[in-house]
């Protein structure tokens, strides 16, 4: 098990869990990142928000928030 923020650009993974307060959970769920969802990392560089591809959309996600997304590499 690992978190999203440390995945390299180009990797594909699956969300297996979420952490954080309910405000964060409701926002991240509403944008489609729920357990089971497949995610491809399109961009991950220091000091920049991540860019993901999930459920047919490109999603920008701040680094801090991405620590709270637990994933399994595919």
């Amino acid at each position: 098990m690992s978190t999203l923020n440390i995945q390299k650009t180009g990797t594909c993974c699956r969300v297996i869990g979420l952490q954080g307060d309910s405000h964060f959970l409701s926002r991240i769920i509403a944008i489609g990142l729920t357990p089971g969802c497949e995610v491809e990392i399109l961009r991950n560089r220091k000091r920049q928000p991540l860019i993901l591809f999930a459920r047919d959309s490109m999603i920008a996600l701040s680094r801090k928030e991405s620590e709270n997304i637990l994933i399994k590499a595919l």
């Binding site: 979420l18 409701s26 928000p49 999603i59 920008a60 996600l61």
Partner: protein, 674 residues
């Protein structure tokens, strides 16, 4: 709110419903095409204001089709119906108040799974629904086909497949409005909840059963409780509720499981292996090239908008000077008194300025509208997110700041792309700190007269102070304007690029020009006339004007902050327009006989000023002038864009206070140095 009414804020249903016709509310995730849809339907029949007592924008409009009247409200909000933000609360309260007969949910056909979340989140609300699957053209290009009829059967509501950017496709939507109103079928989703949460869910449903809720079913309330919904929990806090992160996540998973089953066999085709991030986006979001590209595009945009407006502006600034001599001759031929000539010249020039401003509005609206419409703004938001979140703003605010270097009004227009009302107002407020072209002109003339090359140091210290004031302003205004939303990091979709919709773009440009022209003419002419009156002297000696009397009368007070009556008058007049300050200075220092209107700079202004003012006083004026409110046209557009007189006045008060504080500081520091 009392316990008995619980979760539904029961408002009088007659509140807004004073006209007949069908009341429609628009709901949908960002980038689903709500604004496009709303604008096409309502055209110019729109009213934009704020929700009563809220820092959230309210857009309503109406349209008539086949002899029937429809009223439509664009509900604010982001990705869900949770109580996370004021926008979402407003949306919920609106539905709960029964002011809508029908809710239209927009979903994006090209990302149907994700954008159907709104439908899942809505399930359990008893207000009838029509589902609009928008961007069908994009989905077709991706090779997807969507079976609307089957989806209709599964959901039990009318489903319309369309492209909101194609006028002819609205017929199918209008037809759907004629069909009987129906509520969403919820059994399948509720069965999922029962399966995943068992007694926790059914127990909560029992608990919420007796709530007196007309529009929210007990299941919907139960789910919101499980999602830790602040608003509903507060009202039910007496009970011991089974709240946990796990349940919240389970509920979310249920929703997407339901969507997946719902769409099974409905969306077919689609190329899986298409490139996920295009070449342009790789540059636009790159850590090295992203920012320079954004700045470059912006500068290019500014140049373009000036290229569009400069001929226009040149013409409109020049026109009064060409025409006026004739008027002058005509008036003096009639033997009119001198003041009529002076007043009409002043007003003529003000007209020229206003027309020129309209040109600038047109140019910058077009350029900004274009960048927004194609979807580039989301990338700007992405690359500047880090910097802007420090002052509680979105990355998009960067646009407004850059525009402000040209003209403060550009800042107000640029702020349009910021989608939260509060952050938009804060953006406009902070953009006032950016020195506009007029400020540069005055500071350089005035500075070199007193300090020569050392003006550079003064400018640098002004920039430093600006940065500090920016932080202070963000601190002062953000609690009310932005609230807690900004403390969370960015979670945002980067929408795909779309071809610009020229038709709606030009409609936007014209409507902006129109609404500015309407107000500007009356307002600019009015204020100019007032200033003219204050500064008018029949014999050309400034000592006989009201402004002189006022200025000298309160000079003992203004000297506390280091402003002599001359510089104080220039300070006050610069609120009319920064560049006006030079003309005013020329006349109060006694070389040009007219204060307002001509804006002429006398050639020996420098020597004259330095014989009257000390260096400390000059420094005080420069700081007061620099931090003063930009000009009343900027104030006007702040009012126009924020729809809030209260906030406009607050921000004005803030800047005037800051300007006076800066003036005093500069004065006393100056006295120590020189």
């Amino acid at each position: 709110m009392t316990e008995t009414t619980c979760c539904c804020p029961v408002k009088k249903e007659t509140d807004f419903r004073n006209a007949t016709g069908l009341y429609i509310a628009l709901l949908g995730q960002p980038n689903a095409g709500k604004s496009t849809f709303f604008n096409y339907l309502t055209g110019s029949n729109q009213h934009v204001g704020n929700w009563p007592g809220k820092t959230v924008e309210k857009k309503t409009g109406m349209f008539v089709r086949n002899g029937k009247t429809y009223h439509i409200t664009d509900l604010p909000g982001s990705y869900s119906l949770s109580a996370n933000s004021q926008e979402e609360m407003v949306t919920r309260d609106f539905i709960a108040s029964g002011q809508a007969d029908l809710v239209c949910i927009l979903a994006d056909a090209s990302q149907l799974e994700r954008s159907m979340f709104m439908v899942a989140d809505y399930s359990g609300i008893k207000c009838p629904v029509i589902l609009i699957i928008n961007m069908i053209d994009v989905a077709q290009k991706q090779g997807k086909t969507i079976n609307g009829q089957l989806l209709e059967k599964r959901l039990g509501i009318p489903v319309v497949l369309m492209s909101a950017s194609q006028k002819k496709e609205y017929d199918s939507f209008i037809e759907a409005l004629d069909r009987p109103l129906q509520s969403l079928k919820t059994e399948a989703l509720f069965a999922k909840y029962k399966e995943a949460l068992g007694n926790t869910f059914t127990g909560l449903c029992e608990l919420t059963k007796n709530e007196d809720c007309k529009f929210f079913s007990s299941e919907w309330l139960a789910i919101k409780l499980l999602e830790n919904d602040k608003d509903i929990i507060l009202k039910k806090r007496k009970q011991n509720l089974p709240l946990s992160i796990e349940n919240t996540i389970k509920v979310g998973s249920c929703k997407f499981d339901w969507i997946k089953e719902l769409l099974d066999g409905i969306v077919t085709g689609g190329t899986k292996n298409s490139e996920k991030m295009g070449r342009f986006d790789r540059i636009a979001t790159s850590h090295i090239w992203g920012k320079p590209l954004a700045v470059l595009l912006l500068v290019f945009g500014l140049v373009m908008s000036f290229a569009i407006t400069v001929p226009w502006m040149f013409f409109s600034f020049k026109l009064p000077r060409i025409i006026f001599p004739f008027i002058h001759n005509w008036l003096s031929g009639l033997g009119s008194p001198g003041w009529t000539i002076s007043l009409s010249e002043t007003l003529f020039n003000a007209c020229g300025t206003s027309i020129g401003m309209i040109g600038f509005i047109a140019g910058s609206s077009l350029v900004f509208g274009f960048l927004e419409d194609v979807g580039y703004m989301a990338r700007v938001a992405y690359v500047f997110d880090g910097a802007m979140s420090k002052i509680k703003l979105q990355g998009k605010s960067m646009m407004a700041f850059m525009m402000s270097f040209g003209c403060s009004m550009g800042g107000s227009l640029g702020a349009r792309v910021v989608d939260s009302w509060g952050q938009r107002v804060l953006t406009m407020a902070l953009a006032w700190l950016m020195p506009c072209a007029g400020t540069w002109a005055v500071i350089s003339v005035f500075g070199t007269a007193f300090f020569g090359i050392n003006t550079i140091w003064i400018l640098l210290s002004m920039f430093l102070c600006s940065a500090i004031i920016m932080l202070i302003a963000a601190k002062v205004f953000s609690p009310k304007l932005v609230g807690k939303t900004a403390q969370y990091g960015m979670i945002m979709e980067l929408p795909p690029y779309h071809a610009p919709k020229w038709g709606s773009l030009f409609r936007l440009v014209f409507s902006r020009m129109g609404s500015f022209a309407k107000r500007a003419f009356t307002f600019i002419l009015g204020v100019t006339a007032v200033f003219w009156f204050l500064a008018f002297t029949p014999d050309g000696h400034i000592e006989n004007s009201l402004i002189y009397k006022f200025g000298t009368y309160i000079e003992p007070v203004t000297m506390w902050v280091g402003l002599r009556w001359q510089t104080f008058v220039a300070f006050v007049c610069s609120m009319m327009g920064k560049e006006a300050a030079l003309g005013v200075l020329s006349s109060v220092f006694g070389t040009v006989s007219q204060v307002v209107g001509r804006g002429e700079v006398s050639p020996d202004l420098a020597t004259q000023m330095s014989s009257v003012l000390t260096k400390a006083e000059a420094l005080a004026f420069m700081f007061a002038f620099y931090f003063n409110i930009p000009c009343f046209v900027a104030v006007l557009s702040m009012k126009e864009e924020s729809h809030s007189l209260k906030w406009t006045l607050r921000i004005m008060a803030f800047y005037i206070t800051i300007a006076l504080i800066m003036s005093a500081s500069a004065y006393y520091i100056g006295m120590m140095i020189f």
